[in-house]
């Protein structure tokens, strides 16, 4: 007889964020009966806020069934919860504009948040896969949320097909690892050597590289980022990327791979940085521009993985996600009736017409480009300081000059070009304003007191 292990209080408490998210989903489903949209927003906001606060306050490492809640997974859960919180706030007015104000939006977003928490805390490959699938499925549907627009459907179907092929590969890799080691737990990954084991990890890498949007499989990133609704793209760029990168880091740190595997990662990193920065130079549409810049940032994170210290990568993750959240929230406010205003032509002279939003946008863009006073630079600095492979770092820095050129072109477009035609006065709704100030506060705090972030990550 196999007895079922009793759960201690501490283990139950560790499950609290996940439980709250699921309960919130159920509550919103019931609320859907009534016509008003406010309660579902409030429930969603409180759920995501709770996830953030609870994850930050947890301590030590607790393992429940196949899940292991340790410091890093709490940080990433907090980050994804914060991203969800900001996305809810920012997209509320956006959905009204697009007449797509349905409670399903909050439900699916919360479900993807639950999926991410599963991924962050998974200690077992199967649980990790279920988390990935949960997140991806809800994101596929969210991308196709505004069904009437052709771009949404096209992006959704592309994302779905490519995503499910990648999941199939991921699953196939898991079966090989199961074949090689007899169990799917992360601890067993260390024993996954020999042809079957390495082949399995290879297939896992295929799945992860796709999810992170790294070069061999980054075809989908530009189309999906442009097709999806702007707040959702923000959520994908920050939370989805953070969760997949963190999952990849956990898998890689727990398995011991031969050298030639790291050359593969090195190639992916170099290709990501160069491709992301170079193509960003040529983009006129803002969403596509930030898609390519997110590919470049994935490249930097891959470099961080080569460096080996996972806490450095998490710091970079937090810094990058906060900055891209800020950027996309402002894009949401900027976007015209059918996201038409998000091309560099229409948005010329934005900084002059809206000084406050323009100022915020330049701050976030400068942080993304790695300009020193802001957190972006600190992220890059602490990622590369202890990286041995200096030529690679030099290449990364020089390629980021291309990136800087792209960002500077953006600033020039915002500040130094004459605004064409009358640009509607953008009214920043209260919710969006609060979200933006939250994001700004967090980024400035990380810019000037970065040691707090590091202490948080290593000390918690």
């Amino acid at each position: 007889m196999v007895e079922i292990q009793a759960l201690s209080i501490e283990q139950l408490l560790a499950l609290r964020p996940l439980a709250v998210t699921i309960i919130a989903v159920l509550i919103i489903m019931m609320l859907a009966l009534w016509q008003s949209k406010w309660p579902s927003l409030l429930v969603a906001l409180s759920a995501s806020a709770f996830v953030v606060i609870d994850s930050l306050s947890g301590a030590g490492t607790v393992s429940v069934f196949g899940l292991q809640f340790d410091v890093l997974s709490r940080i990433v859960s907090a980050l994804t919860g914060f991203a969800a919180f900001v996305t809810f706030l920012v997209s509320f007015r956006y959905l009204d504009q697009k007449k797509e104000q349905h409670p399903e939006y909050q439900i699916l977003l919360l479900l993807s948040l639950a999926g991410m928490q599963l991924m962050n805390a998974a200690a077992d490959l199967m649980l990790l896969f279920i988390g990935i699938e949960l997140m991806s499925l809800s994101i596929y549907v969210l991308v196709a949320f505004a069904r009437s627009r052709r771009a949404c459907c096209e992006a959704a179907i592309k994302y779905f097909l490519l995503g499910s092929v990648a999941s199939a590969f991921f699953l196939y890799g898991m079966s090989f690892i199961f074949g090689a080691t007899g169990s799917l737990a992360f601890t067993a990954l260390a024993k996954a050597n020999g042809y079957l084991g390495y082949l399995g990890i290879g297939l896992l890498t295929v799945g992860f590289l796709f999810k992170m949007g790294a070069p061999p499989f980054q075809m989908w990133v530009p189309d999906v980022y442009e097709g999806a609704m702007v707040p959702l793209t923000g959520f994908m760029a920050s939370a989805v990327k953070a969760a997949s990168v963190f999952a990849f880091v956990r898998v890689l740190t727990s398995c011991t791979m031969p050298d030639y595997f790291w050359d593969l990662i090195r190639f992916a990193a170099i290709a990501a940085i160069f491709l992301g920065n170079a193509v960003a130079l040529t983009q006129t549409r803002l969403k596509r521009f930030f898609a390519y810049s997110s590919i470049a940032h994935t490249g930097y994170m891959l470099l961080g993985i080569l460096g080996g210290s996972s806490s450095a990568i998490i710091v970079y993750l937090v810094v990058y996600s906060v900055a891209s959240l800020g950027v996309f929230s402002i894009l949401t406010l900027m976007s015209g009736p059918d996201d038409s205003l998000l091309t560099s032509l229409e948005s010329a002279g934005f900084g002059r017409r809206h000084p406050v939003l323009g100022g915020l946008m330049s701050l976030f863009v400068l942080s993304l480009s790695g300009m020193p006073p802001l957190a972006g630079f600190f992220g890059k600095y602490q990622l590369f300081v202890f990286l041995q492979d200096r030529t690679l770092v030099l290449f990364a820095m020089l390629a980021s000059t291309l990136g800087l050129a792209a960002y500077v072109r953006l600033l020039i477009n915002f500040y130094m070009k004459e605004p064409i035609g009358v640009m509607s006065r953008v009214r920043t709704p209260v919710g969006a304003f609060f979200a933006l100030s939250l994001v700004l506060g967090l980024m400035l705090h990380m810019s000037f007191f970065p040691d707090a972030l590091i202490r948080l990550i290593s000390g918690l």
């Binding site: 096209e154 959704a156 196939y172 079966s175 097709g227």
Partner: protein, 95 residues
């Protein structure tokens, strides 16, 4: 040997996805690939005398079902806007 057969099934499913133009057939080939994975799980479980393989098949089956549902829903939504399920038709966004 079962896993070789499963590998064959997986690759045929892969071929189906790459070669066919109708999205529905792509979904079916996707199902094919997932079935192949289930087979490999069971085969490897059998080889090592572990039943966990079969448990994993349990989960992959539910996930495959969920994916199929979402996929088909997407196809219907797509059909409503594009009036066709051909991959070549789905090309709105130019660079």
């Amino acid at each position: 040997m079962v896993e070789s057969f499963a590998a064959a099934l997986f690759l045929i499913g892969l071929l189906g996805i790459v070669l066919r133009r109708t999205i529905l057939v792509m979904l079916m080939s996707l199902e094919l690939m997932l079935n192949a994975v289930n087979l490999t799980f069971v085969a490897f479980g059998q080889q090592q005398g572990l039943l966990t393989g079969q448990v994993y098949v349990f989960f992959t089956m539910t996930i495959a079902a969920a994916e199929a549902a979402i996929g088909l829903a997407l196809v219907i939504a797509l059909f409503r806007t594009f009036r066709s399920v051909d991959t070549h038709a789905v090309h709105g966004m130019r660079e």
